[in-house]
């Protein structure tokens, strides 16, 4: 299991979390290499359907990172993000997909240390959970 290098996708909003990632870079804050960032303007752009697609495509974990509540550049985009992902995590749980594979978190443009920590912690979590083999996991009657 220790050899497992998870493949992780992070959605970052342009104004806070992406900027935090940049600042973590400027501060040379070492992080695991597992996380790749897709930039969106606001965390409110991230459809839970994107996460379904990522899991279906074998991505091991998905981060959705926005501005803190109250700080969203678009005032309340992240309010919706929060509600959507709270409910979506529950749904994953009901379906037997470990909700720890997705994580919604906030990082302001100044929170480089916090950002690096989120990346590191989440990578650890996914390492513990092991690879996303949902697609191959279930033995099929039909197979």
């Amino acid at each position: 299991m220790t050899d497992f290098e998870p493949n992780i996708l992070a959605f970052c909003c342009n104004w806070c979390s992406y900027a935090a990632a940049d600042l973590a870079g400027i501060g040379r804050m070492k992080q695991p290499t597992n996380v790749k960032i897709v930039r969106v303007m606001c965390s409110g752009r991230v459809k839970p359907e994107f996460v379904i697609k990522a899991l279906a495509d074998g991505v091991d974990g998905v981060l959705i990172l926005g501005c803190h509540i109250g700080d969203c550049h678009y005032v309340s985009g992240n309010h919706r993000t929060k509600k959507r992902f709270e409910i979506f995590s529950k749904l994953l749980g009901h379906m037997g997909i470990d909700p720890r594979r997705i994580r919604l978190d906030w990082a302001s443009a100044a929170e480089a240390i916090e950002f690096a920590k989120i990346i590191t912690d989440f990578t650890e979590t996914i390492k513990e959970l092991g690879p996303n083999n949902y697609a191959g996991k279930h033995e099929r009657a039909t197979a």
């Binding site: 379904i52 279906a56 409910i87 279930h138």
Partner: protein, 260 residues
Amino acid sequence: MNEQLREVVKGLFARDEVEVVVSLKLNEGCVAPHMYSKEDDLSSMVHSPKYPIGIVVSMIQKKYPDTKIGVVIRGCDERILIELAKRNQVNLDNIVLVGIACTEEDAKDCLCETPFPTKIDIGEKVEGITTDENIEKISQMDMDERFDYWMGQFDKCMKCYGCVYACPTCICENCILEEDMWVKTGELPPEFPSFHLIRAYHSTDRCVDCHECERACPAHIPLVTLYRMIRKDVEDMFGYKIGTDVNEKPPLVTVLEEEG
């Protein structure tokens, strides 16, 4: 009970409360939705079996937006109309409801929690079924068991889209489940339950517990079990009860409460 129904409808016509009434018609042994007008013979009007009439109403209203329509409904039909109204598919202002309470058998058949509308014109109210063995069973399972359980079910899915088309609150003209970029088309059984995850996610703020999807499913997949589990969460987390108040906005489109 059919007699009683016809009497109520006659009353509506007599008082000029409505111009037409949408109900079910028995025709050569078949029951289908029908739009009755004042002059029509009402003797063919029946209230059973259950039929999701909301979509028909929506179609009629799109064509005749100003007509006052009477609609014969059950508990689930009312919830359907309310959810459709929230999404601008029907206009409740021009609708007069004739409420039918479902029988105990009906309720059991649908495992229905609320087998009656707010205002009952016909029939006696019976208590809803609040327990669901399937949900209890799944709740006991660990993650892997749940996944296996559901995949065992979804393996049976033949992507006939019966559930989507039967669902009265699935109103999208363009269903993303039919788009290759979201759900790989032409692939069975599904590797990953994208189809059912997306459908369940879309049901979170609109599934009215009518069971039409399950009735339509040739594979007998207990879809409503999943939708109920998530709907319960929506109720607990956001205090949102689907199909009760047309003025209540679905929680996923509104801002967080604490923040105003």
